[in-house]
């Protein structure tokens, strides 16, 4: 019996080791691709200036769609940032998706809302009941839809799509603050290549701890909460390197739900967002790509490696667990729905690279990680664990993880340099190290639970994240008070 267990443990160890090696090599390749692209983008930004995009009569108008459920903590800031975009033609469509707090009242008071007859531009099915539609009387291009919630963000977005007027639609989370030029930056690919570009996204960062004033991030800062700090590094790694690398390989699967720009006509052609999906942002991109490939139409999904949006990330383990579980559940739904694309060369790099990667490393990653941890525990229990070898392997895994995080911080520091304070940069580096102990393992557990939920076909339900709102600029930092050197 012991011998059998010994063999099982050894096989599991080798499997985990081989898997980790493959994952690290893939990540390294992505990071190198991403870092190269970011460096090139900083060296030469391309032919077009944003001023020219703003002034061009060829720049298409944009409808910003903001689904909101119990967002009273930050909704006014979010709307102010959205309506304050430097962009030639836009409207904002806010969907109050069954809020039980004062979300609607706050907006109604600030923008002096008046009820109107809805001007429908599409007839996508919406499960929740539309209660009323309102328009701002303050001169702001704002439409507000009130509907009952069915617990899915996609339903609210489909309701917004039904009244959106413009050829491009931008989906924005209600807990996100957009940079003033966010739309210009992300719309640029659509202006330059209107026939081929179908979706575009940019870099999202954690807003917790940043100093804000009326929807504007005055000074990016790191939160005092280590859970938030670790997520800050995660976002840097994922957006600055991972997605840039995927986009460079023409295999970008995810345009973040927090901020993504899409061609409205194509969204309507595919029937809007999948109402059952829990990862509606990735699901949307994959559905669009599948549709365009099937009809033989051009399709470019562009990632703009520049910071455009600041979003609130979970501050507690409980909320983080729910969020990551939902992401994993949604990913499993997506991969199952589009299983015919996986490994299928007809779908290009998406079919042959991105989807297999997401299946092997994103969806099944936690299974292997938990299996590895269990193998170590069993080996220790059986007395066959070689502490020396285990220490070397754990050290190597930590070193590779730290290398990836440090690379992301280095790219940020050498390119965008948004964190002005030295201690914030140092904290990011430390967070990249700390992440390996505890956070990574807990994260694997949350994702495993999401996978199990998907396998057991539990009903997908979107659970809203409790919001704390954005930090006000009540006490500006010393750097802001000191006049700039002359």
């Amino acid at each position: 019996m012991t011998e059998v267990l010994h063999d099982v443990v050894l096989t599991a160890s080798w499997t985990v080791l081989g898997y980790t090696l493959l994952l690290d090599l893939s990540m390294l390749a992505l990071v190198l691709l991403g870092a190269r692209r970011v460096a090139e983008a900083r060296r030469w930004k391309g032919a077009e200036g944003y001023g020219e995009i703003f002034a061009s009569p060829l720049t298409p108008a944009v409808s910003l769609l903001v689904p909101a459920h119990d967002e009273e903590a930050g909704i006014l800031d979010t709307l102010q940032a959205a309506l304050g975009q430097r962009y030639p033609a836009l409207e904002v469509v806010l969907v109050d998706d069954g809020s039980t707090d004062r979300t609607f009242e706050l907006v109604a008071e600030r923008y002096q809302l008046a009820e109107i007859n809805p001007r429908r531009t599409a007839e996508l099915p919406v499960d929740g009941e539309i209660l009323s539609v309102h328009r701002a009387t303050t001169g702001d291009p704002l439409v507000v839809i009130r509907k009952t919630s069915v617990g899915r963000r996609s339903d609210a977005l489909n309701a917004a799509l039904n009244v959106a007027r413009h050829p491009l639609v931008c989906m924005v989370d209600a807990d996100s603050l957009l940079e003033e030029d966010a739309l210009l930056r992300v719309a640029r690919p659509f202006v330059e290549d209107p026939a081929d570009v179908i979706a575009a996204g940019g870099v999202i960062r954690a807003a917790n701890g940043a100093l804000t004033d009326r929807g504007t991030v005055l000074e990016p800062r790191l939160s005092r909460n280590w859970l938030v700090r670790i997520q800050g590094v995660e976002y840097l790694r994922s957006f600055l390197l991972g997605r840039t690398g995927w986009a460079d390989a023409n295999a970008l699967l995810i345009i973040s739900g927090a901020f993504g720009l899409f061609r409205r006509d194509l969204l309507l052609e595919i029937g809007g967002l999948d109402p059952r999906s829990l990862a509606e942002d990735a699901e949307l991109v994959v559905s669009l790509l599948e549709h365009q490939r099937r009809v033989g139409a051009p399709h470019r999904v562009v990632f703009v490696p520049e910071p455009v949006c600041w979003t609130e990330v979970p501050e507690t383990w409980r909320v983080l667990a729910r969020q990551r579980q939902r992401w994993s559940h949604g990913l499993a739904q997506l991969l199952w729905k589009h299983r015919r694309m996986i490994g299928n060369p007809r779908f290009g790099p998406i079919g042959t690279m991105a989807l297999p990667f997401f299946l092997l490393f994103e969806l099944l990653g936690p299974v292997v990680e938990i299996l590895g941890l269990a193998a170590v525990a069993v080996a220790a229990g059986l007395g066959i664990l070689d502490l020396g070898i285990a220490a070397v392997m754990v050290g190597l895994a930590m070193a590779v993880g730290t290398l990836l995080s440090t690379t992301a911080v280095a790219v940020e520091e050498l390119t965008y340099h948004r964190y002005q304070r030295g201690r914030d940069v140092l904290t990011l580096i430390v967070a990249g190290l700390v992440e390996n102990v505890g956070y990574r393992q807990a994260h694997a557990w949350f994702r495993l639970r999401g996978l199990v939920a998907a396998l057991t076909r539990r009903d997908p339900v979107w659970t809203a994240m409790p919001r704390v709102g954005f930090a006000r600029d009540d006490a500006p930092s010393a750097e802001l008070l000191v006049p700039a050197p002359r």
Binding site: L10, S13, W14, L17, E40, R43, W44, G46, A47, E48, G49, E52, S56, P57, L58, I116, N117, P118, R119, R120, T121, A122, E123, R135, F190, V191, E192, D193, P194, A195, D196, D265, D386, G388, I389, V392, M393, G395, L396, A399, V400, T402, L403, T406, T407, V409, A410, E413, L414, H417, G422, V425, I429, P485, R486
Partner: protein, 359 residues
């Protein structure tokens, strides 16, 4: 069989060295950034009087009396930043400065550099800093192996402002190394009205994608002379939908009442909802009351977006269109809902008809 400890240790050591190098790079970059920006600011302060002196000089004198060649290297960047904001003689003076300092010659040499960003930067610089004599050199870059460089070449040709660039730009919209239409469109718009005669010719002789782009641009220019050609395209049912849609949109921008008839035909006779919608929008822009009846009929179209576009167009027609909408809005049914939604934009919506028996 035990895991390979030796290679793992070696890999661990390599990764650790990389981390240390990265950390040192981050620390150095962070510490030096403040000093570098202070140095740049100081340099700009020192050089700005020189730039002002150059701009204040009599254009006839050029840059006589100022030691251009001996000025510090930072001058080039300041001049390049200023150039897009200037016009006329000031722009000419700064172009001369860049030529005298060898910046233009270096850019020409960089056009054959191995790295694409160098070629791209060089051609972009030529577009704003050089005159018409480099058109052929820049046009040659429209066939560069890098898409970004090709785009930069197109934009540079637009900024150079020579009508001779129209033909190569239009040719660049097709072929193995075709340029995105938006980039070519912006470059052609930069060329201004001097490009209109060539654009009109291309509307007749060009291929499908080029004609669609040209139709759109003629509309943006509001080129009344192109209206008959665009009307012909819109009438031609054998033409691609994209070209006809672009023609309809352009006719709306131009605003000639002669275009009402073909637009009404497209709205009433086409099976393509996007063409119907664009035609309705164009009729609204033109504002000819003759379109009232067909737009009212469009309120019952099967496509919801066409219905909305027809209602909006009626609002834009003025008194006659709004009166027609008011009539429809006071009735029952889905058409009345569309009319009410459009009138809401003006705040003149009649109240909903009460169901029978309602108090």
């Amino acid at each position: 069989m035990s895991p390979p400890v030796g290679p793992a240790l070696l890999a661990g050591a390599g990764v650790t060295v990389l981390i240390v190098v990265l950390l040192a790079t981050v620390a150095t970059a962070h510490l030096l950034r403040g000093r570098r920006s202070a140095r740049d600011a100081r340099r700009t302060r020192e050089l700005m009087p020189l730039v002002h002196a150059l701009l204040d000089d009599d254009p006839a004198d050029g840059t006589a009396g100022i030691d251009i060649a001996g000025a510090p290297a930072g001058l080039d960047e300041i001049v390049l930043d200023l150039l897009p904001q200037l016009r006329g003689s000031d722009r000419q003076v700064l172009r001369q400065v860049l030529a005298e300092r060898g910046v233009v010659a270096r850019a020409v040499a960089d056009l054959s550099a191995r790295r694409s960003w160098r070629r791209g930067r060089a051609v972009a610089l030529l577009g704003s800093a050089a005159g018409g004599q480099h058109i052929a050199t820049m046009a040659a870059r429209l066939q560069d192996r890098s898409l970004e460089v090709r785009c930069a070449a197109a934009r540079a040709l637009g900024k150079a402002g020579e009508p001779a660039a129209v033909a190569p730009l239009l040719r660049a919209t097709s072929g193995a190394r075709a340029l995105p239409q938006g980039v070519v469109g912006m470059a052609l718009l930069d060329l201004g009205t001097s490009s209109l005669p060539v654009l009109r010719e291309a509307l007749v002789a060009g291929d499908g994608p080029a004609r669609q782009l040209v139709a759109e641009l003629l509309g943006v220019h509001g080129d009344l002379s192109a209206a008959p050609l665009l009307e012909g395209l819109l009438r031609d049912t054998g033409e691609g939908t994209g070209v006809r849609r672009a023609a309809a949109g352009a006719l709306g921008r131009i605003g000639s009442p002669t275009s009402t008839e073909p637009l009404v035909r497209a709205l009433s006779g086409s099976a393509d909802a996007s063409l119907q919608r664009t035609s309705a929008e164009a009729l609204g822009r033109i504002g000819d009351p003759v379109a009232t009846a067909p737009l009212l009929a469009g309120l019952a179209a099967s496509d919801v977006a066409v219905r909305a576009a027809c209602a909006d167009a009626l609002v834009r027609l003025g008194r006659e269109g709004r009166a027609a909408l008011q009539d429809v809005a006071s009735g029952p049914g889905a058409v009345a809902d569309v009319a009410r939604a459009a009138l809401d934009q003006l705040g003149t919506t009649p109240s909903r008809p009460q169901p029978a028996g309602a108090r």
